[in-house]
């Protein structure tokens, strides 16, 4: 730096070199401030030079003025630059001491821990499918009258079909009518038909009860039934609806279904429906392929006696109904093998088979997406 010519004034050059060396040597902001005061403070070397300008002749001032001002500007620049450098170094040194172990675990979000029960999820899934076909959701009481659960549904008093229902009974009401826990959700159909004139399109999901308990039966379970009443709907429409439902619910492009004649007191003709599937892989069922048949629901044309009992003329109106187990189709779709586990509230089971709260079933996003 000694051979560097800064001004035409060797004295100024020497001063500047000295100050610059001081700035570079300052290794913290306090030392830098000392250098600044020594140069630019009130009694600093550069300040003194600036003051000396007043005593100079105009000629001298003409040459020395720019020289001294230039010196001051450069010193200021050097100090500012040094200051930035020192600040950055100090920040880097501080941050270097502020390290955390980013591999430490964090608490999972509550929404990742909470679960919706498979019955609730599957009920939402099937509601989405039927809502798209124009069905609304009807509900009714679990404690029913004998009339709504049996008589209106064409179960003759004392008939074996009535006995097959393993009914839970409650004491008779004030009117002497026997009360029962509904053995199916069909009384909701009765209540719907009594309350509303056709056309009717509803599904009725809900809890149902039968006094039966073993490996495959629980005293409480869930059913969903559908009901259509208008002037033209027939078994062909019923077939189409059920096929569409099974495709949408099991999320497959095609299903093969087999309709078998059967008997229910409240439908005529009555049918049971099997769905074709592949059960060759242990613990897994695939629909839309395979050689096995699995019974999944019962259905039929609403019996004329039921229509009459609900104040609907069977010569003008007609329609169909179907019913299936929500728990059962949930088990089939999601591969749960023990019905009893649905009601045991074991958090290990619920966490495994339950659904995350933000996994809403939608037709747009895929029901089980």
């Amino acid at each position: 730096m000694s051979d560097l010519v800064l001004t035409d004034h060797p004295g100024l050059d020497a001063l500047e070199r000295g100050i610059a060396a001081g700035i570079l040597a300052a290794d913290d902001e306090a030392a830098l401030e000392q250098v600044r005061i020594a140069a630019l403070g009130k009694k600093g070397t550069v300040s003194d030079l600036l003051k000396s300008l007043g005593a100079m002749t105009p000629d001298e001032r003409k040459t020395m003025g720019p020289a001294i001002n230039g010196l001051r500007d450069r010193v200021q620049g050097l100090i500012a630059a040094r200051k930035d450098t020192l600040k950055a170094a100090a920040l880097a040194a501080r941050l270097a001491g502020e390290r955390v172990d980013v591999t430490l675990p964090v608490r999972p979000a509550p929404a990742e821990i909470g679960r919706v029960h498979p019955i609730a999820q599957v009920t939402e899934e099937l509601t989405a499918i039927f809502a798209d076909m124009g069905f609304s959701v009807a509900e009714g009481p679990d404690i029913e009258t004998d009339f709504h659960n049996f008589t209106a549904l064409n179960f003759p008093e004392g008939h074996p079909a009535r006995e097959m229902h393993d009914t839970f009974f409650l004491p008779p009401g004030e009117d002497g009518q026997r009360k029962v826990l509904r053995t199916h959700t069909s009384p909701v159909q009765v209540r719907t038909m009594l309350a509303k004139a056709p056309p009717i399109r509803v599904i009725c999901p809900g809890r149902t009860y039968r006094c039966d308990s073993d490996q495959t039966h629980t005293p409480m379970f869930h059913q969903v039934e559908g009901l259509v009443i208008d002037k033209t709907s027939h078994m062909g429409h019923l077939k189409w609806i059920l096929e569409e439902f099974c495709k949408a619910f099991f999320e497959v492009d095609r299903v093969t279904m087999r309709f078998r004649p059967s008997f229910f007191p409240f439908t005529e003709p009555s049918m049971e429906v099997d769905i074709q599937c592949d059960r060759s892989r242990p613990g897994e069922i695939r629909f839309g392929e395979g050689e096995d048949w699995l019974e999944i629901l019962g259905c039929g044309m609403v019996h004329p006696n039921v229509l009459r009992n609900c104040g609907i003329d069977p010569d003008i109106y007609q329609g169909f109904a179907w019913g299936m187990g929500i728990d059962r189709i949930a088990m089939l779709k999601y591969g749960m093998n023990d019905l009893r586990a649905f009601f045991e509230a074991d958090v290990r089971w619920l966490s495994h088979y339950g659904f995350r709260p933000l996994d809403f079933p939608t037709l747009a996003g895929g029901l089980s997406a």
Partner: protein, 804 residues
């Protein structure tokens, strides 16, 4: 209902294969539950002849045999059976055969150094019986090399079908044959049954005596056969009965069982010598009893129908005969009964006495009334054939009811209800083949159902008959379009709320349970339930006897079960129905949740950033509020009061109120309740009644109200009040907010203090009040004026003083 293929062929000349028949049965409504074909399982077993049998060189009890199975060289087999001897025809299994009894595959092996290339079999090894004293001995004329099953007559598959309650006619094999013939799988064989003329008047008479009460027996026929020889029935009958799971008894009894299954015609036989005087069909008298053929004694009453003689009750009508008048090997004179019974009475009596007999099963579903007398005639034929004897004339009491009815049937009804296209001729043909009498001309014909189809009531039943026989596969799936109009939500507000509450609670880390709707009477009573009208008359277990008044007991029980399995920090919720009474309006939709031990919303248990403490009443409150907010409840108007039902801790619980309505409760569960439920805590919970939340008013538009933002900075002022401990923080906040509803935007509690510096019965509550000016910035004087009003108002409403 079981039948064998050969038995079916006595009523049907098949024009299709056995497999086709089995496949079709299900499709016409006779669901096949199983086909047992012993011939298939026993196919590898063939008849072999032992040519030589010599003592094993290295074992005293073994023999080395050579066996011929016809083709090929004789085969060497080592056998341990004592009866293995030269010349014996027995059963041989070749290597590779799977032995039914053990499931193991037979291999070529050496037994004590002598090679054995197969096995001679005992009945037990083939799963035929428990007999294992020796290998099977077949008749000398058994052809060597043919399948053993064929020799045994086992090549007759047994089919089991499920018969629906409306199809009593198919509880007889002849009825199944008729359906199959209608479906064009064969020709029905229905020879006429010739009446057997009686050769003497019956020595026994019968009267129906219901003494003015409704008759339980429309008609009753009997006849006596004298001089019978009642030994075992012939092999063909025994084989039939065994094949469908019945035990042959003696010829007379076997005939009645045979006709029960062959024709759906249950009959009963009495030993004439054990009958005293005439028979009377009447109601039983209370105090009478019957020792029935099942060896049990049944106490009877007036609701039941019996057949009695001068001694007393001899038979429980239509359900089971009596032991005393039953037929045995010594019987020489027999009374045969063929009768009709009131189906509902049969069902009720059978149910009350717990008797499930083949007769009850048929009479309660309904037998063919027109076949009462022909059934008796056919029984007479069979008994005369098998046992000999001389028949009396028939005695008849009552009258066979005329069930003839005519249904006007528009043939278009088939298409209207089923969508299936069938020609008029096709429809009429199906009905005719099923035994319906069809008259008149299209489009509306007159149809008379046959006497055996008591289930046919009207047009819809006829449509079912046509469609099931023509095949449901012919019904075309037909698109079902939506009804016109716009897309409207299909869920009711309550249904939507139920869903939202569920998702909100799950999003707070709680797991949804579905617990029983019923619980123990004790648990119900602890939670305000236990009303007599909510107690089940026939609970499945004593701890599942009463409809639940609350979701909490079920959740507490579940939480404890999880704790017992090792998960103590558990957060559960349920959304479901609770019952305050037995009327529909007493059923409410509730949402409840609980947190046990350290199941905090932010996470349970120990953690490096700090362990979760015990969940407290405020966690339960926050859960409840989250659900309420998700349901769209007007939470701003919600009041929280320090009163809660007595299943909560009295000091750490509260209620949510909207006006006069309590819409929920929350808090710590009372320790005494936990103890009574055999549960441990600590446990905090809440329960909301979702249908008590008022429904939002329908709005004409979906447009949200305009956003109102102030251009001026809000001002925050803090106040620390000292108040009595009984004062609610909400009262302080409400008082502060009430000072100037326009200016004061919010007030919150930021500190709560009790301890040194504050009197023992007092607490310090520090609140922050937010002032939001709208038109201009507030001056200091204005702010001070509002602050002074806040202090004065809070002091007035709560007795608070500013903390020094």
């Amino acid at each position: 209902m079981k039948f064998t293929y050969s038995w079916l062929q006595e009523h049907l000349e098949p024009t299709a294969s056995f497999e086709a028949i089995v496949d079709r049965l299900s499709l016409i409504g006779l669901e096949v539950e199983g086909v047992e074909d012993k011939a298939k399982a026993l196919a590898p077993f063939v008849v072999g002849e032992v040519l030589t049998a010599q003592k094993h060189p290295n074992a005293d009890k073994l023999k080395v045999c050579t066996v011929s199975i016809g083709a090929g060289d004789p085969i060497q087999v080592v056998c341990g059976a004592p009866n293995a001897r030269a010349g014996l025809k027995t059963v041989f299994a070749a290597p590779g055969t799977v032995i039914p009894a053990t499931g193991t595959e037979l291999k070529i092996g050496k037994i004590r150094d002598v090679e054995s290339r197969g096995m001679l079999c005992s009945a037990r090894e083939m799963g035929l019986s428990e007999e294992h004293e020796g290998i099977i001995e077949l008749p000398q004329d058994a052809p060597v090399g043919v399948p053993f099953a064929q020799v045994l007559g086992l090549n007759d598959p047994v089919v089991e079908i499920a018969v629906t309650p409306n199809r009593a006619d198919c509880l007889g094999i002849s009825g199944i044959a008729r359906d199959l013939a209608a479906a064009r799988l064969g020709d029905l064989l229905a020879p006429r049954i010739a009446p057997v003329p009686g050769t003497f008047p019956s020595p026994v008479n019968v009267t129906l005596d219901f003494g003015g009460t409704p008759s339980l027996c429309p008609a009753f026929a009997l006849r006596v056969i004298r001089g019978v020889t009642n030994g075992p029935s012939p092999d063909w009958m025994q084989e039939k009965l065994r094949a469908i799971g019945l035990r042959p008894i003696n010829a007379l009894v076997d005939v009645t069982n045979f006709l029960t299954f062959d024709r759906n015609r249950p009959l009963h036989v009495f030993d004439l010598k054990k009958v005293t005087g005439d028979l009377v069909v009447r109601r039983a008298k209370t105090g009478e009893s019957l020792l029935a053929l099942d060896g049990r004694t049944y106490a009877l009453d007036e609701s039941m129908c019996v057949i009695a003689d001068d001694k007393g009750v001899e038979s429980l009508a239509g359900i089971m005969g009596g032991e005393e008048s039953g037929c045995d090997a010594a019987t020489t004179d027999v009374v045969i009964e063929s009768a009709l019974w009131e189906p509902i009475n049969i069902a009720q009596t059978g149910r009350r006495l717990g008797i499930n007999s083949d007769a009850r099963f048929r009479f309660e579903r309904g037998v063919d009334p027109a076949w009462m007398v022909p059934g008796l005639e056919l029984a007479t034929h069979l008994i005369l054939d098998l046992c000999g004897g001389a028949p009396s004339e028939i005695v008849l009491a009552g009258a066979v009811p005329d069930t003839t009815r005519t249904i006007d049937f528009p043939l278009s009804e088939v298409k209207r209800l089923s969508g299936l296209e069938a020609s008029e001729a096709e429809i009429m043909d199906v009905l005719t083949r099923l035994g319906f009498a069809v008259s008149g001309a299209a489009p509306v014909v007159q149809v008379v159902p046959p006497s055996w189809r008591g289930d046919i009531e009207g047009k819809a039943d006829l449509v079912e008959e046509v469609v099931r026989i023509l095949g449901l596969a012919r019904v075309p799936a037909t698109e079902f379009p939506r009804e016109g109009g716009g897309r409207r939500p299909v869920l009711t507000p309550l249904q939507l709320r139920t869903r939202k509450a569920r998702r909100a609670l799950a999003a707070r880390g709680m797991v949804e349970a579905v617990t029983w709707s019923f619980l123990s009477a004790k648990a119900a009573a602890l939670f305000g339930g236990g009303q007599p009208e909510l107690a089940l008359s026939n609970p499945i277990a004593s701890d599942l006897s009463d409809m639940r008044p609350s979701l909490l007991p079920g959740l507490i029980r579940s939480a404890q079960a999880n704790a017992d399995r090792g998960t103590g920090d558990v957060a559960l919720f349920e959304v479901g129905q609770v019952f305050a009474g037995d009327r529909p309006e007493d059923q409410r939709m509730a949402a409840a949740g609980l947190r046990r031990a350290a199941a905090k919303p932010a996470g349970a248990g120990r953690f490096w950033q700090g362990n979760a403490g015990a969940a407290d009443a405020f966690d339960a409150k926050a859960d409840a509020l989250a659900a309420l907010a998700a349901c769209g409840a007007p939470t701003a108007n919600l009041q929280v009061t320090a009163d809660a039902p007595d299943w909560y801790h009295p000091g750490r619980s509260g209620s949510f109120r909207l006006g006069p309505n309590v819409i929920g409760t929350f808090g710590e569960i009372h320790p005494a309740i936990l103890e009574a439920l055999d549960a441990t805590g600590p446990l905090v919970a809440f329960e909301l009644i979702l249908d008590r939340i008022p429904e939002p008013k329908a709005k004409p538009t979906k447009v949200k109200p305009p956003l109102d933002l102030s251009a001026f900075q809000p001002v925050r002022r803090d106040f620390a009040f000292v108040v009595g401990q009984e004062v609610g923080a909400a009262d302080i906040l409400r008082a502060a907010m009430g000072v100037d509803r326009k200016l004061i935007a919010d007030a919150t509690v930021f500190d709560l203090y009790q301890g040194p510096g504050i009197a023992a019965e007092k607490k310090s509550v520090a609140i922050e009040v937010v002032l939001q000016p709208r038109e201009r910035t507030l001056t200091d004087a204005e702010i001070e004026a509002v602050a002074a009003k806040v202090v004065a108002e809070v002091a007035k409403k709560t007795g608070a003083t500013l903390r020094a």
